[in-house]
């Protein structure tokens, strides 16, 4: 099997879509699509693919029109999982899709579909956790700031939600794990690479709000029902380090005489 070929893309989603385009021009079609960091296999011939926006756009449109928006969404989310074999997984998924079209998203017992759906749902779960647990703080410049440390680079999935919410309020969400920042100036948002975002100075009011929130959080729990396991099940520990209520030290409780 020394004549098996594989394509190598540059690690971007457009790169992967371009590689899928190229795959269809080859006979026989390549077995894998990998990226520079992936494990390479003996006896496989690798060929680099140069990312081409026009080709990527054609594949993107093809997926959307032939397999539906849900299939495209799943592929995109699975891509964000950064799984070392994501290229090949998505390639196999899309190939199946070009054969069976709209049946793709219904083929819930096919391994190719299961694999992509699993990765996509890991990413989707992280994104929805962040909609819950992101905490913003008011800085001296008037811009609200938040730091997150997610497993997957989900900023592109969560930014639209906060933009809609906060509307004219400018904010920055910094993903420390992936060194990416989502910036919103009150009108438009962009994603940029940011090596070292310095958290700006917080206002005095911000410090008071953190205390108020901590007080509310501690008071609203019912002592007779305390259940740390249940809490942790709904609010995984990995998010606590960026959450006000889990990091602030409680103030004294003068009002209730505790």
């Amino acid at each position: 099997m020394s004549d098996r070929t594989a394509l190598m893309f540059d690690g971007s989603f457009d790169g992967l879509l371009t590689a899928i385009f190229e795959a269809y021009t080859q006979r026989p079609m390549p077995a894998e699509i990998i990226e520079p960091d992936s494990q390479q296999h003996l006896g496989m011939v690798y060929r680099n693919v140069r990312t081409d926006a026009a080709k990527a756009a054609r594949v993107r449109r093809g997926i959307r029109t032939q397999m539906g928006g849900e299939a495209y969404d799943n592929a995109w989310k699975a891509f964000l999982s950064q799984h070392p074999e994501r290229g090949t997984f998505i390639y196999r998924y899309v190939r199946l899709g070009f054969q069976i079209k709209q049946q793709l998203v219904r083929s819930l017992t096919d391994e190719r579909v299961i694999t992509v759906n699993k990765l996509a749902s890991l990413v989707a779960r992280e994104a929805s956790h962040l909609l819950q647990f992101v905490r913003l703080g008011e800085t001296e410049t008037g811009v609200y700031y938040s730091e997150i440390t997610p497993t997957y680079p989900v900023l592109p999935l969560i930014m639209p939600h906060f933009v809609h919410r906060l509307n004219t309020q400018a904010f920055v969400i910094y993903d420390k794990t992936h060194k990416q920042a989502g910036l919103y100036n009150g009108r438009q948002w962009v994603l940029t690479d940011a090596d070292n975002a310095q958290p700006p100075a917080y206002t005095a009011e911000e410090r008071q709000y953190r205390q108020l929130w901590k007080t509310f959080y501690d008071t609203v729990a019912i002592t007779e029902r305390i259940n740390p396991k249940l809490r942790q099940q709904f609010m995984p520990k990995k998010y606590w380090r960026n959450m006000v209520e889990m990091t602030e030290t409680p103030t004294a409780h003068p009002a209730l005489g505790e």
Binding site: N167, L212, T215, F216, Y217, I226
Partner: protein, 436 residues
């Protein structure tokens, strides 16, 4: 008194209310205005008791003229009292919303003065939020029993959800513990809200821009375990509220012994398992097409503590099974233990592509450990499906209460629920055939 102390007092007074959901409203953003809502709701935190925190849940005031025995805020109880000014509370809500702490506000109040006065203060707070700040986030407000229809009308146009708490599931309970409240003055505002919602839907069909009335619907809450009412009474009332009052949600709240009245339980742990079983049943009513009479009847007025209500129902109805995965309709699939709403939809979707085999069920998210006793795939039973109802019962009981497996060691008991001994085969048979 500073804002921190007020917040502490008025949170402590509000915390026993179970409702904290922000669901049922979907408001898209409007340029220049703060906030929005999303239909499934968002939980922003979970307190140390594992309950969801979605909204800033506080009272406007915990000063109360009434003396409901089951309530911490009753007039005769010696607790610190406080009131937020509308401005203070509106500002606090906005500040917390901007920081993504909350989806919005859940506002209630003690009867500070007259019921209408309490309502007016709440309305003033919400007006500042909606009209001054243009706030489009979620607001849930409680209507105070005994308030005027005009106040309900006014509040209903400003909020997403409204609730009137029934609190005690029977009229007798109200008479004993909350003599100032009557069934009538609880049901009257509920009816008013229901009619307002219906009317608002009709208006909207004609004029597009009238403000919606209580768009996320109304809810209520009942305290469980303060009175001797059975699960069946509670559930029949619940079903009636869904059907006749069009309620969106009924919440159950395990009674925490805060009262001193001679007839109220004291020093008892809150009946959390019972509350849990009621919620499971409520879920079956709302999403699974079950009716209360299928689940509890005169002979079995209480939910089985050992089994979740769907398993208990399934064991009592062998004539319904096995269900054929490749042909059953959605409602039938939903009656099978181990098949939930999501996995039922996946089954319906996947079988359009090809017949499903036993080994496919796991891939579709079916809990095979439970479902295997109740289904076939193209006529084939699943591996190690057993028919003996006693063995199946014990099996399912262990799955729903894993601590039963280790009942041998007393230290292993879950702290949450007291662990009764696992019933014997005879108990099970008696229970299944309705002799217990």
């Amino acid at each position: 008194m500073d804002i921190m102390q007020k917040l502490e007092i008025l949170t402590d007074s509000a915390k026993y209310d179970a409702a904290c959901t922000s669901s049922g409203s979907d408001r898209s953003p409007v340029a220049g205005k703060l906030g929005g809502t999303c239909a499934p709701g968002i939980c922003h935190s979970f307190s140390a008791d594992g309950r969801c925190i979605s909204l800033l849940k506080v009272l406007q005031s915990n000063v109360c003229m009434y003396d409901c025995q089951y309530c911490v805020n009753r007039r005769s109880n010696d607790v610190p009292r406080a009131s937020f000014t509308p401005r203070e509370l509106a500002d606090l809500t906005i500040g917390m919303y901007r920081r993504n702490y909350i989806e919005g506000l859940f506002l209630s109040s003690g009867v500070s003065g007259t019921p209408d006065h309490a309502m007016e203060e709440m309305i003033r707070t919400i007006r500042i939020l909606r009209e001054e700040y243009g706030f489009r986030g979620y607001i849930h407000a409680k209507a105070i029993p005994g308030c005027s229809p005009e106040a309900v009308e006014l509040l209903g146009r400003l909020v997403d959800r409204m609730s009137v708490n029934i609190e005690l599931p029977s009229e007798q309970g109200l008479k004993t513990f909350a003599p100032a409240k009557t069934k009538q003055n609880i049901l009257a505002p509920m009816r008013h809200i229901r009619d307002g919602i219906t009317q608002s839907k009709e208006e909207l069909a004609v004029y597009r821009h009238v403000p919606k009335f209580v768009p996320a619907g109304q809810s209520t809450q009942m305290i469980v375990g303060a009175t001797p009412d059975t699960d069946r009474q509670i559930l029949r009332l619940t079903e009636g509220l869904y059907k006749q009052y069009g309620l969106k949600r009924v919440f159950f709240s395990a009674y925490i012994p805060v009262g001193t009245h001679a007839l109220l339980p004291k020093n008892t742990p809150p009946p959390l398992l019972r509350e849990h079983r009621l919620y499971q049943t409520d879920w079956l009513l709302r999403f699974y097409g079950f009716s209360v009479d299928e689940i509890v009847d005169e002979e079995h007025p209480s939910l089985d503590p050992f089994l979740d209500p769907k398993c208990a129902w399934a064991l009592r109805h062998p004539e319904y099974f096995p269900v054929e995965i490749n042909r059953a309709d959605k409602e039938t699939l939903l009656h099978v233990p181990g098949i939930g709403v999501k996995s039922a939809l996946r089954i319906l979707r996947a079988r359009r592509v090809g017949a499903l085999r036993p080994e496919d069920l796991k891939k579709l998210g079916v809990v095979v450990k439970r479902a295997k006793f109740f289904v076939t795939c193209n006529g084939r039973r699943l591996p190690d499906a057993i028919d003996d109802p006693v063995i199946v019962y014990r099996h399912l009981a262990e799955l729903s209460r894993p601590e039963l497996k280790k009942a041998a060691s007393p230290m292993e008991q879950l702290t949450l629920f007291p662990t009764p001994n696992l019933p014997t085969g005879e108990d099970v048979m008696a229970c299944l055939t309705g002799q217990l």
